[in-house]
Amino acid sequence: MLFNTIDFAIFLPVVVLIYYLIPSKFRWVLLLAASYYFYMSWKVEYILLIVISTLVDYFSGIRMGKLEERRSRLPWLILSLCINLGLLFSFKYFNFASENLNVLFSKVGLAGKIPMHELLLPVGISFYTFQTLSYSIDVYYGRQKAEKHLGYFALYVSFFPQLVAGPIERYSRLAPQLRERHILSYDNLVNGLRLILYGLFIKMVIADNISPIVDQVYANPENYASGHVLIGIFLYSFQIYSDFFGYSTIAIGSALLLGVRIMDNFKSPYLAKNISEFWQRWHISLSTWFRDYLYFPLGGSRVSKYRWVLNILVVFLVSGLWHGANWTFIIWGLLFGLIYLIEHVLNRSLKLQKEHSAYSAGHLLLALKTFFLVTILWVFFRSQSFGDAMHIFKLIVQNAPSDPQQLLIPLSTWIFLLLFIVSDVFLYKRRFDSWVSGMHFLLRWAIYGVLLFGIIAFAGVENFPFIYFQF
């Protein structure tokens, strides 16, 4: 059940209505049933994976909670890591590993061949695996008490607004809110609807209208003149941003309707002055997850210079691999790590960053530089192989087909894209709901009108699932 379908447009109001009508002590049952139903609408059988993750982490947590010594908790943490990462590996990375090992075997002359499976990747497996792992790790370190109520724990793992593509929430933030006695609040309702409206707009009007154009260019880049290939690449930057930002905004808005505040996942990332700031503004819930559960345990910056460089590269490499089982993602992650390190060195020696306040000319130039770099790296992310990515770069420089195909982009797409960019500039320091709440009634309703009309009359009609669902 996608957020931008009629099914969800019926499902969400029904759940919200029942939620506020029933006594609060039964609400977890409703939300858990709704969340499982939501997930099963993709593939019924895969609910088993969530149930397995839930049970393993629940019982590991209970066992760890009873043990005083951290060392004695370790086997339970290992069990949780093995089961969760094992499932993730089986579905997401097994074929990739087999394929590469088979190539290696054939190169060294070994006859054996590891077979591959044809199982579909369960939607959102990387998201809920990381969410539930964060709980186990926190209980292991003693930062979090073990949850005794299986129902609430199961709900934490599967809370439908953020189940399939995040934001990846921490137990300490989400679980207490699930237990709270929420009363129907006008502010939550209005702000939730505002966020859903804005999220739908950027997904359905921006991302879904750009998507077929980008697909065309990436499918047959050699048919287009260099300029059009370049346009396709730049449009992909906006496609992936509006697609994922749109999803996260709808998720946050949907949770808010239930009185639950989940973390912001994006804060105008293309206005970041450098790669470091970009990752503080892009997919924030994942970046902070890697910071807390990988970078810090590796020693963070409190290690030798060489070790720190290694830590940075490891974090970005794993981040790349998290996105997908393909060398392109690994290269994408590593390149981000390298640029991060180069920028770090340059910024320290040239002190480029600190002098520029928000919206100044200096900020704008640095933001353009960051946007350009990120756009280049998205080519690896979008391409099917490293060769394809290099082919695209080559075409940008020297492609001149004798009869180039025209890249037809409707005027409405440009206008809405421009509106999105302008709104994103305004949202550099605040969220859409708080931004519009400060406006005059007429201006606010004019914005609602544009968004609503855009969603209804200009939404792309092809079925493009959210890009991050595949991760």
Binding site: N4, T5, F453, I456, A457, V461
Partner: protein
């Protein structure tokens, strides 16, 4: 305080009503036509119908597919028109269409239209699981959303929010394979296979043998295909195609149209040769069911099911309703004879 709150809410509700009304007007007058041409150009089939037409022939590819050796490559509907030169017959042909599509198209026919009679193509194969769960369905269903009897803005909302069954090719394949297992076959005599899936597997294993006793792969594959295409028993309560034809009957009653269902010819000769009498039994059973079911509703069902010989089927390695000239003329002759009930004075023997 309470009054202030209510007026606050009332202003917002009124704002929403005004907003939606304004948006509907704007959309209807500025953007709707462009969207219709982009996403539902099927509407042009109806728009092109002349207002003074007497008969509409609703067909799919069977109407306009001809063999390269045909002397006369005209459509079935043209041959029917030859029998009634005094009547204006218009054909509405959409490849891969079925009753669900015809139903929506007919709903668009303007009230001032003078149409008296509809000839609707009734293809036995369109009741099978593979056609019901065809990969073409997603795009066909999508093309109908803007034509639903709702305000234009609401239809565009339904289109934007994908209010039609979206399924991938793989999902639809899973659906019809599931149906092949779930729909049990009932014969009045002992039959060794419970369902199409078993029957198909048995045929694939047993195979069709050539003169040397070797398995002829191409013929075996074709036999399996015939089993999957015609090995079903129509359930009038469950089959979605029945619901579509029922809706056409209801619409025709309401609009006072005379209705002819043209049960298209299938290659029964080949079905008998390849699979045998069991498959013929099912085809005949479905034929009788359709004739009685719709006959009792006042529809003339033209039984062309076995009227075309094997030699007139263009596709010999697949099941289609594509006929060479002789086949198309035979079908037309059957329909023309049925129309005699209502138009005896207009009939001229076309000598086909």
């Amino acid at each position: 305080m309470l009054r202030k709150r209510w007026s606050y809410i009332a202003v917002r509700i009124l704002s929403l009503v005004l907003l939606f009304s304004g948006m509907n007007l704007l959309y209807k007058h500025v953007f709707f036509e462009k969207d219709l041409q982009k996403y539902s150009s099927i509407i042009n089939l109806i728009r092109d119908v002349p207002p003074d037409v007497d008969i509409i022939y609703l067909g799919e590819s069977s109407n306009n597919t001809a063999h390269e050796d045909d002397q006369d490559k005209r459509k079935i509907s043209d041959f029917i028109a030859d029998y009634y030169p005094g009547l204006a017959l218009y054909d509405m042909t959409k490849p891969a269409a079925h009753a669900g599509i015809f139903k929506v198209l007919l709903q668009q026919l303007p009230a001032e239209s003078e149409v008296e009679t509809l000839i609707v193509t009734l293809t036995l194969r369109s009741f099978n699981a593979q056609w019901i769960h065809s990969p073409l369905e997603t795009s066909l269903q999508k093309s109908l959303v803007l034509l639903l009897p709702n305000p234009p803005l609401f239809n565009r909302f339904l289109l934007s929010f994908k209010a039609y069954e979206i399924k991938t090719k793989e999902e639809r394949e899973q659906d019809f394979k599931k149906q092949w297992v779930e729909d049990k076959l009932h014969f009045p005599y002992e039959f060794p296979h419970e369902d199409v899936s078993q029957w198909n597997r048995w045929m694939a294993y047993k195979g069709i043998r050539d003169e040397q006793g070797e398995i002829d792969r191409a013929q075996t594959e074709l036999a399996c295909h015939y089993i999957k295409a015609y090995g079903f028993q129509i359930d009038t309560l469950e089959n979605p195609r029945i619901a579509d034809f029922d809706a056409i009957v209801e619409l025709a009653l309401h609009r006072e149209w005379k209705l002819v269902f043209n049960l298209m010819a299938e290659n029964m000769e080949k079905a008998g040769q390849l699979v045998g009498e069991d498959l013929i039994f099912l085809m005949n059973q479905n034929r009788e069911l359709l004739k009685h079911y719709y006959g009792s509703k006042g529809v003339i069902v033209v039984d062309n099911l076995s009227s075309v010989e094997d030699q007139f089927f263009i596709d010999q390695t697949w099941t289609t309703e594509h006929y060479a000239e002789g086949g198309r003329k035979t079908i037309a002759k059957g329909v023309a004879a049925a129309l005699l009930t209502w138009y005896p004075d207009e009939y001229r023997d076309a000598r086909y």
